[in-house]
Point group: C2
Chain length 139, copies 2
DNA sequence: CTGTGTGCAAACTCTTTGCATAAGT
DNA sequence: ACTTATGCAAAGAGTTTGCACACAG
């Protein structure tokens, strides 16, 4: 199952100090080939299996955490049962649909944040997340 | 274990359409007596037990969800293993310490958000959460 | 009394881990 | 060859649920 983007994925992995294995290449490919995405482990696992790369669930967990440590992706600040990983590492923002536990991109992200506070002693700001919680109109 | 604030807690519960039972009064008391707080189920459970109100863990879970549905408290948008509940229902913001999975209040919360997007079709904005992720200075 | 709430233990879901096997360099 | 990654299955953590008992109105 070799895609045109394998070379790109492989370069990306090396650049971040990760060995380009079959599974990592496939997962990186799925993650980055289609633009910015946010996925759960399970979703990515399904995609991989459908794409003919039968990785194990544990490997997807491991791999996504390695990608996160390497700074390739990041974890979203949402209070869902599942963890969401985002391929967009920059400060940007999301809708979160209550009840459905669904994450949506905010289309035109021209949100501005004023008066950001100082980080406390010995800490620095790693990332700023804005989560806009949505609910169905009318109770 | 009757505190001076039981009457307050009881009124609060009635106002939100919840029967003021022993356990609910005790939990509401702990939650609201000390100003704004954000706690996990386990933390509140410990406090209750220490305060001489031996509620079960399941009841704390149930109760906090009832409080949430009633609008007395809300769930924080952080990507921790545990769920955080906040007694401050208004739009305000938090530091989240990576690794330690710790939630801190932002002291002077004069953060402003500009250009909030429209909610998608059929949805409305329930809440806006800003989460500032912190990490220890120097890797 | 009657309907709700609570406690307990078991079930469930998501996630992590240990160890043998497989793959990368 | 030597090191690192993967798969599997089992364990772990947090949370939810079913049902008998207890409490509030």
């Amino acid at each position: 199952m070799t895609s045109m983007n394998d070379a790109t994925a492989e370069r990306r992995l090396r650049r971040h100090g990760l060995r380009p294995t079959r599974q990592r290449i496939a997962l990186a490919d799925l993650l980055f080939a289609k633009g910015d995405r946010h996925l759960t482990v399970e979703e990515l696992h399904e995609e991989a299996v459908e794409a003919g790369v039968p990785v194990s669930l544990a490997t997807v967990y491991n791999t996504l955490h390695q990608f996160t440590e390497a700074g390739m992706i990041r974890v979203l600040a949402v209070e869902s049962a599942k963890t969401y990983f985002d391929t967009n590492v920059s400060d940007h923002h999301h809708f979160f649909v209550e009840g459905r536990n669904e994450v949506l991109d905010i289309p035109v992200s021209n949100i501005t944040i004023g008066n950001l506070p100082e980080a406390p002693d010995g800490m620095e700001i790693a990332h700023v997340d804005v989560v806009i919680r949505l609910r169905p109109k009318q109770a």
